[in-house]
Amino acid sequence: MTPLVARPWFVQIAAPVLLGLLVLCGWQGFCRLDHIPPYILPAPGDIGASLLANRATLLHALWSTMKVTLMALALSVAIGVAIAFVLVQSRVLENSLLPYVILMQVTPIVAIAPLIIVLVKAPAVALVVCATVIAIFPIISNTLQGLRSVDPGLADYFSMNKASRLQFLLRLRIPSALPMFLAGLRISAGLSLVGAVVAEFVAGTGGTSSGLAYEILQSGFQLDIPRMFASLALITVAGLALYGAMAALQRMVLRALSHAPGR
């Protein structure tokens, strides 16, 4: 019989969960035994209690953060892919536009978040715009690189077989670009959440109330540290869920691809 530690499911799932539980127990014990007050460092139990007590507000805040995140992600994909397709059409276009894309990419977008919040009047729109601007670049650059990564030998094979432009696109360019695009999507999903939270922070300091970041700000003002941690925990859970969803999507698409399109 294989020892427990040698089994893949144990190592991949049970081991990190066990470690997490151990850390939580240690944390709980440390806080209790040393009588650390919850406004300095709340014990996991306090955080859980606060999460339960404030569940209505916090879940509502989670929902509004997720809405911004998902809308920003969708917009990033739509606009980013479109930009990549336009750029790949012509060298001239790419050469003239790419420097600006890079210029925007190297500017810490977080720094222009306040500007966007001020410029865009509707607060809900401002949040989405801000998160989109933060999340879009991995989509553009990965899709572009993917579209360019077509194997020249395969391109020869297609042209020798007199493939139509549509066949080139559907059967060669898009499948070649997909793995890079999906990797970009994963990064971008994480950045959408970061963008949403940052935008909420900036907007929150300006008085607009929504989302988990706002909850964190408010809890800070009120010195309700357990609630602050509870909000933080929800952000982490949201991030994990996004990551998992993107990984699953990536696997699914790549598997579907291997059995190839119909026409």
């Binding site: 030998g153 007199k162 190839a260």
Partner: protein, 266 residues
């Protein structure tokens, strides 16, 4: 099956030459006509332009000067019944994301063959190269030799009339190579198929060909030719015959002078 000089050549080079963009002279002007049913091997030192010549014949390079003709016409003649062209590259050149079966099916899909039929033909082609078991794997899960066999199956699945092969069996073990050689010989004996085959193995060239074209490099050109009676049945008995040994010796002599004529390429 026997080359008939009066017939329309399947493919023809008329003073076709290739100078690359960087000024490299790939091929000096070349005349070559291949008749229906011929099995022509190209052999010569590395870098003498064998792949370049094959790419001219597949319309993947345009000649810098001169003409390439397919069935006495342009490349638009190619395709459709009786005029199918198929190319097996020196590298497997497969779609890494697609299953082995989907890779083999590709030329049929591109030509709009109905899915059911395409699927069945792709399976049969895989069977012929001994890879029926691997149809659902992706190229990344195969060995180099297996990938090459997938590429060969993809080349055969369209039932080509003109088959261009660039050293297809180079990466295979002796046993598999001999088996595929025998299959190829049987296929071309059935008639209809015209093959142009690049190889580095003089034994393989002698075993398969009705004509062997020897090339030399610096610059790339045709150096000499050897014809072998196409009526000879290409089987194990031929491989072991004295005639085979003599033909190999002749070819070896020709190859040695080609290598000498190639200067630094030798």
């Amino acid at each position: 099956m026997i080359a008939n000089p009066a017939a329309t050549p399947v493919v023809e080079l008329r003073a076709a030459e290739k100078v690359f963009d960087d000024g490299t002279r790939g091929l000096v002007p070349i005349d070559l006509a291949v008749q229906p049913g011929e099995f022509v091997s190209l052999i010569g030192p590395s870098g003498c332009g064998k792949s370049t010549l094959l790419r001219l014949l597949a319309n993947l390079h345009a000649p810098s000067d001169g003409q390439v003709l397919w069935w006495r016409g342009g490349f638009d003649q190619v395709g459709g019944d009786g005029r199918r062209l198929s190319f097996v590259f020196q590298e497997p050149t497969l779609m890494p994301w697609a299953s082995v079966l989907a890779n083999v099916r590709l030329p049929l899909d591109l030509a709009g063959v109905p899915r059911q039929e395409a699927q069945a033909r792709a399976r049969a082609a895989l069977q012929a190269v001994g890879l029926a078991q691997a149809q659902d794997r992706t190229p990344g899960q195969l060995s180099g030799g297996m990938r090459m066999r997938v590429s060969i199956a993809r080349g055969m699945v369209t039932r080509p009339d003109l088959l261009l092969m660039d050293e297809p069996f180079g990466a295979l073990d002796e046993f598999t190579r001999n088996r595929l050689d025998a299959d190829l010989a049987a296929l071309s004996r059935q008639g209809g198929l015209t093959t142009i085959f690049v190889t580095h193995s003089l034994y393989e060239a002698v075993f398969l060909s009705s004509r062997i074209v020897v090339m030399a490099s610096n610059p790339g050109r045709l150096f000499g030719e050897m014809r072998i009676d196409p009526a000879i049945v290409r089987d194990q008995a031929f491989r072991l015959s004295e005639r085979f040994a003599l033909l190999c010796r002749d070819l070896s002599v020709l190859l040695t002078s080609a290598a000498l004529a190639s200067g630094e390429g030798a």
